[in-house]
């Protein structure tokens, strides 16, 4: 989707503004993740990742991001962190694990980074 003219966003390095454009791009991915609120859907995904992603109509880019557990790529493909957090739960990743994965740090290094800002 092209969104002419309403580009009021300022550039914030390392930050993707989850707006209508991203939300539309990521709709299928976020919908799948939203449905992970229910245990039966988490089990469905775990039993057949590929089939489950196809059922929700994920794009090739979204599927590739999930296959490679690449959080930054999921965001690039329109994923919203609140919905993705439910997927991270299935992968047994903590919020600090997810932070480390996105910033090229180990979980411990990421925790130290947080602490350093005290």
């Amino acid at each position: 989707m092209d969104q002419p003219g309403y580009d009021y966003h300022i550039d914030i390095p390392g930050t993707t503004i989850f707006d209508g454009k991203q939300a539309m791009k990521g709709y299928a991915l976020n919908k799948m993740c939203y449905d992970f609120n229910r245990a039966e859907n988490r089990e469905g995904f775990k039993a057949d990742e590929e089939g489950w992603m196809t059922k929700y109509g994920l794009t090739e880019g979204q599927k590739a991001a999930i296959r490679s557990r690449n959080i930054l790529q999921m965001i690039e493909e329109g994923g919203n962190i609140y919905y993705l957090a439910k997927l991270a739960g299935i992968f047994k990743l903590s919020v600090q694990d997810v932070g480390g994965l996105q910033t090229g740090r180990t979980t411990e290094e990421f925790q130290d980074f947080l602490q350093s800002q005290a």
Partner: protein, 282 residues
């Protein structure tokens, strides 16, 4: 007429719920955080609110992108914390206060706020953790007030402006004070302070900006309405936009407030945790 006793802010990080369950109050990691709460507990014991307005933001349980409201108000007999995706155990339902909910909705729609009313609403950690912090054992606490959940959109831009959030609070305050019951009401503003979960900037925390917000939310909230939404993302982090809940709470308190207690600690999980108790002039 009802009386607004005051407002309490707190972070609502899911890990806090876990720490409460494990009673880690004296654990070195948790102690500086939980130390912020005894004065709040004492105040609640003393003032005994009848109703709690819980202003929080949903994180993908109660609402999805198919229908994303800017401001939603619960109007149900009870509210359940359903599974958010991690299989956490469900608590007994929180008792609602539908007659107060509808009073607020009637008043605020008349006041030109475009409310989404919710006669069913699953509430997530944003609502539940603060309840557990303030009323230990919630909802199974004999002092547990009946609740009205109010949620603002911080999932998807455009989010409401800081000015709109403060104005929402002012209209909410008018609604509460016109409720024709001799009742005592406390308002929670939950979420924040600075944090960012997503992107290469994940882990971002901004102590200086948080202190600026903490200072001004007490004595000069109007000053904070000058912050644009993109500035808020830049300075508070992508999820630090939850500060809007604090603005909504603050607007409802009126001009004359006394700060009873304040706590600020970095980090809890990925977040700078802030707690504030503001009492309204009698």
């Amino acid at each position: 007429m009802a009386k607004v006793l005051g407002g309490i802010t707190t972070s609502h990080i899911p890990a806090v719920g876990n720490a409460i369950q494990k009673e880690m109050y004296d654990d070195p990691y948790w102690k500086p955080f939980f130390d912020g709460y005894p004065k709040v507990h004492a105040w609640i014991k003393e003032t005994k609110p009848d109703y709690v307005i819980n202003i929080y933001n949903d994180h993908g349980l109660g609402f999805f992108l198919d229908r994303m409201p800017t401001f939603a108000i619960g109007a149900a007999h009870e509210y359940r914390n359903e599974d958010e995706g991690w299989g956490l155990p469900s608590l007994p339902p929180f008792p609602g206060a539908p007659e107060l909910s509808w009073h607020i909705i009637e008043s605020m729609v008349a006041d030109e706020f475009d409310i989404t009313s919710c006669q069913e609403l699953a509430v997530d950690h944003g609502f539940v953790v603060p309840m557990q912090l303030f009323w230990p054992g919630a909802p199974n606490n004999p002092d547990m007030p009946r609740a009205v959940p109010i949620s603002a959109n911080t999932v998807q831009h455009p989010i409401p402006t800081l000015k709109r959030a403060l104005d929402f609070g002012k209209a909410l305050g008018r609604a509460l004070r016109s409720f024709p019951e001799d009742a005592k009401i406390v308002i929670l503003g939950t979420g924040g302070l600075s944090h960012q979960l997503d992107g290469e900037r994940a882990g971002f925390i901004n102590k200086e900006f948080d202190q600026y917000c903490l200072e001004n939310i007490v004595s000069n909230p109007e000053e904070l309405t000058k912050i644009t939404r993109m500035e808020l993302v830049e300075k508070a982090g992508a999820q630090g936009t939850e500060f809007l809940m604090w603005m909504m709470m603050r607007g409802a308190l009126g001009d004359d407030v006394t700060e009873i207690t304040r706590n600020y600690h970095i980090p809890i999980s990925n977040t700078a945790a802030g707690t504030l108790l503001l009492e309204c002039a009698a």
